[in-house]
């Protein structure tokens, strides 16, 4: 299956600094069309499309918008989440570098549908070099009259992985420490500044204009029953051609990593970054979909020379460092796992710790406040299942 470009439709085809080149490719036509529809009709089209959040959680976009639309209050917000910090993810950087206008258009449509007059794009600090391009796109769209009655402000992060998590992101936009919030209330009811808010990943918003233009049914015609449309993947690691690829959901992992990215001699694949799954090569024919493996589409490939414990250990070190520290299971759990995995890496592990790690993984998944702690052990649990020998070899005396 070749690449199918919906999100990346304009990448390489337009000048990202010139709105005229974007308009020449139907740019802002969807926004004009949406404003001729009722907000409810726009939301209905998104619901029909089956579009689910592309930041990893996969929440249905139309339902999120409807929730914020129906929440009482005159003041509402829409936020574009450009804080991709998941290890191995760079698709949103590529999108903003190549087509910032479609992001602006998608956010403006979201604002219209939800009833928000104010939008934010939260750009990670690491992407500061994209700031001028993004602000330029907003300014050009405003000058062309596309943003009448809708204001978009770019807010910069300051280097915190957890701020990609929606409730931590809202805290950060409010100027506070980026700590996750307790839910409920959900953002659609009480989000930014306690007002109804939708937060969508950059890639999710990139899908909005094509859906409005071509209809939800067209979009729903691609993919699997539970994963409609296309997905953009960031492929890195032991591959010949690292980069950004867009495929119809449900495409086999093999076509992406071997076919498009040219990987050879694969041992395992991490799907979804630090909080993602780690699967052995014999599952290479799995479909890429929410119902199997997907996350935000970060695909890190490891060849046979790579050590399982090093990868899981380094991943846990990352999560321990990035844990915001608010809830105990995540703050303490990641630290204990770093220490324990370190003992296994040195060949000083204890057999009983394998059981303890499994129990702790369950506890963290059930009791952590946000996705960081809940999914911190995904790769650990997978590798304990598929690469148990590597752990056994790390037990003292073996």
């Amino acid at each position: 299956m070749p690449q199918e470009k919906v999100v990346l439709r304009n990448c390489g085809a337009i000048d990202p600094a010139d709105i005229k080149t974007h308009r020449a490719r139907e740019g802002f036509k969807a926004l004009e069309k949406a404003r001729g529809m009722t907000p409810e009709e726009v939301i209905s089209e998104i619901k029909t499309s089956g579009l689910r959040g592309r930041g990893g959680a996969g929440f249905p976009c139309g339902i999120k918008w409807e929730g914020a639309r129906n929440s009482p209050g005159d003041e509402k917000y829409v936020i574009g989440n450009a804080d991709e910090g998941e290890v191995g993810t760079f698709k949103d950087r590529y999108i903003i570098q190549n087509d910032p206008f479609s992001l602006v258009e998608g956010l403006a449509i979201a604002g219209y549908a939800v009833g928000a007059r104010q939008g934010y794009i939260y750009l990670r600090w690491e992407y500061s070099y994209l700031l001028d391009l993004l602000r330029g796109a907003i300014d050009q769209a405003r000058a062309a009259g596309y943003l009448d009655g809708f204001r978009i402000e770019v807010r910069q992060g300051a280097g915190a992985y957890v701020c990609g998590e929606e409730s931590a992101l809202m805290e950060s936009v409010e100027g506070k420490r980026g700590e996750a919030r307790y839910r409920p209330p959900f953002p659609t009811v009480a989000g930014l500044f306690q007002k109804p808010t939708t937060i969508n990943n950059v890639e999710t918003l990139m899908n909005v204009a094509p859906i409005v233009l071509k209809g939800g049914a067209w979009y729903a015609g691609m993919g699997t029953e539970r994963s409609r449309g296309t997905k953009v993947f960031s492929v890195s690691g032991d591959v010949a051609r690292p980069g950004v690829y867009e495929m119809v959901l449900g495409s086999p992992l093999r076509e992406l990593v071997e076919g498009l990215a040219g990987a050879k001699d694969i041992k395992m694949i991490q799907i979804g970054g630090a909080t993602g799954r780690i699967i052995p090569y014999d599952q290479i024919d799995a479909p890429l979909a929410f119902e199997s493996y997907l996350g935000a589409g970060a695909i890190t490939v490891y060849n046979r020379s790579r050590g399982v414990l090093e990868i899981v250990g380094r991943t846990m070190e990352f999560l321990a460092e990035e844990s915001c520290g608010k809830c105990t299971p995540c703050r303490q759990g990641t630290e204990w796992l770093v220490e324990t995995l370190d003992r296994f890496r040195r060949g000083e592990g204890a057999a009983r710790d394998i059981g303890y790690m499994q129990v702790l993984a369950d506890t963290m998944a059930l009791s952590s406040l946000c996705g960081l702690g809940q999914a911190a052990c995904s790769g650990l649990v997978d590798t304990l299942k598929y690469f148990r020998d590597d752990y056994d070899r790390g037990i003292s005396g073996k």
């Binding site: 100027g175 492929v235 990352f318």
Partner: protein, 144 residues
């Protein structure tokens, strides 16, 4: 410094105020943070709490140029450690340190989203990708 910082108009947002203060006058010293707290009308530990939470806000003095090398797995797989070692050798200081002449601060950071050009680093806001130990001297030369 305290009085001057208090007079400068700051946004009603601790993070943005800190970002602006750092861009304007460098590291966030206790005096700068106290001044911001006074002008925002918030306790100074709230300001310190935000300043110490984010990795790109610095409460320590920084060099004129800040090197941030990615230590995450996609860069590590592409011999990132050899690049880190080469920078350590070129600067004479290890990660977390600033050179004696204050020309460079050297830091290791988590994934910076440049995995398709791994190993990668940022120097200030500039992107440097596909690094090798041999490229380091030539790159560092451009930063005074």
């Amino acid at each position: 410094m305290t009085k001057k910082a208090a007079r400068v108009k700051t946004p009603d947002n601790i993070l943005m105020a800190l970002q602006e203060a750092q861009a304007r006058s460098g590291p966030l010293t206790p005096e700068v943070m106290a001044g911001l707290a006074a002008s925002l009308g918030v306790p100074s530990n709230d300001v310190y709490g935000v300043a110490s939470f984010y990795s790109f806000l610095s409460i320590r003095p920084l060099g004129r140029n800040v090197i941030r090398v990615c230590q995450s797995l996609p860069c590590h797989l592409k011999e990132g450690q050899a690049v880190i070692d080469a920078i350590r050798k070129a600067l004479g200081v290890g990660p977390g340190r600033t050179t004696e002449d204050s020309r460079f601060t050297f830091e290791l950071v988590n994934c910076i989203g440049l995995c398709d050009g791994a190993p990668a680093m940022l120097i200030n806001h500039d992107v440097h990708t596909d690094l090798t130990p041999g490229k380091i001297a030539g790159i560092l030369q451009k930063y005074k």
